[in-house]
Symmetry: C2
Subunit: 201 residues, 2 copies
């Protein structure tokens, strides 16, 4: 009944994710978007709305992708401790193989917009809560099997792991040095392990 779009809506959104991820919100102009996505201005506005709406869609898509990867890890094989280590190692590896130094789109966005844009702030906060919830659950399991220390409660440890991952992404953005990142991963893992002192209480 009408003309069909000359582009794939999802694929083009992926390009938007990549672009905003690399450049941030304010440093990206609509001209950049038009050039990079190879889509007409009118089609852009017609399909995704204005710049801010497009950005939100891109961020939510990134978040959905990330959440899926996390779910996959959670229900995969391995002990809770293995999964946490794997998450940390994956972060370190992603940082190292990221030649454009893009870092994490969610954290980049948080740093750029959280105190200027309430809608974005809410997405960032929700994302953090979800990740901390997943970590807490994992840690609780590990604590029950005795693989993770019980000197701190699961929530506190989850917050610590989240903070450590954030730290990794900042350091990775500044200067991705394999040794430095591996060190951090190792130390976080060490802190989660129950020490012999735990039993003395």
């Amino acid at each position: 009944m009408a003309r069909t779009k000359a582009f794939n809506e999802e694929q083009v959104l992926d390009k938007a994710v990549e672009l905003f991820w690399r450049q941030g919100y304010h440093a990206t102009s609509i001209q950049d978007v038009v050039d990079t996505l190879r889509i007409n201005r009118a089609s852009l506005y017609g399909t995704y709305g204005d710049k801010h709406t497009l950005f939100v869609k891109a961020l939510q898509r990134y978040r959905a992708d990330q959440a899926q990867a996390m779910a996959h890890l959670l229900q995969g094989p391995g002990s809770p401790m293995d999964k946490i280590k794997s998450l940390l190692n994956r972060t370190a590896k992603a940082t190292l193989s990221d030649s454009a130094h893009k870092g994490c789109f969610m954290i980049n966005t948080a740093m750029e917009l959280v105190n200027q844009d309430p809608e974005i702030a809410r997405i960032v906060t929700d994302d953090r809560r979800d990740i901390e919830d997943a970590l807490e659950q994992l840690i609780r399991q590990g604590q029950q099997s005795g693989a993770i220390t019980t000197t701190q409660d699961a929530r506190a440890l989850a917050q610590f792991v989240f903070s450590s991952i954030s730290g990794l992404r900042v350091v990775g953005k500044m200067n991705p040095d394999k040794k430095a990142l591996d060190n951090v991963v190792e130390m976080v893992a060490k802190l989660l392990q129950p020490s012999r002192e735990d039993a003395m209480i």
Copy 2:
């Protein structure tokens, strides 16, 4: 021989630090600068150069202030371990009392510009190196007196502490929750302490 400036060059630069710190580089227009610093356009360009130059001056001023505070801490009283704890606690406290959620100007800038602006990247890298050097020196002293673990070398621990501080600033930006921040500080401190197992080797 000529008219005197109607403003204090240093005080106005401080306002620029505050503004860029709060909004970042790209989100701040020259009009914002003119309005906030309450200085004429011509005077602005005449005194500080263009936008980029002003930003660099602001960032360097921030860095100098921070470096001075660090030097003061280093040569003050207290053990190396106390100084590290104090640094961490100060970061947590600064985050909590920062109602505008500004975070750390240097880290904000790193996240926004490091992969777009080589001159800024260099400043950020230099700053990180200096901080890690200071931490390493402190940790080395602590190790010699037996107050800090020797299971990792001083450099690795310094990198870990730096990463943890970065994590604090990210978490603090997202949602400054006192308990979460204090937890992180406590755990970093715990990791630095020598455990009884150390002696068993």
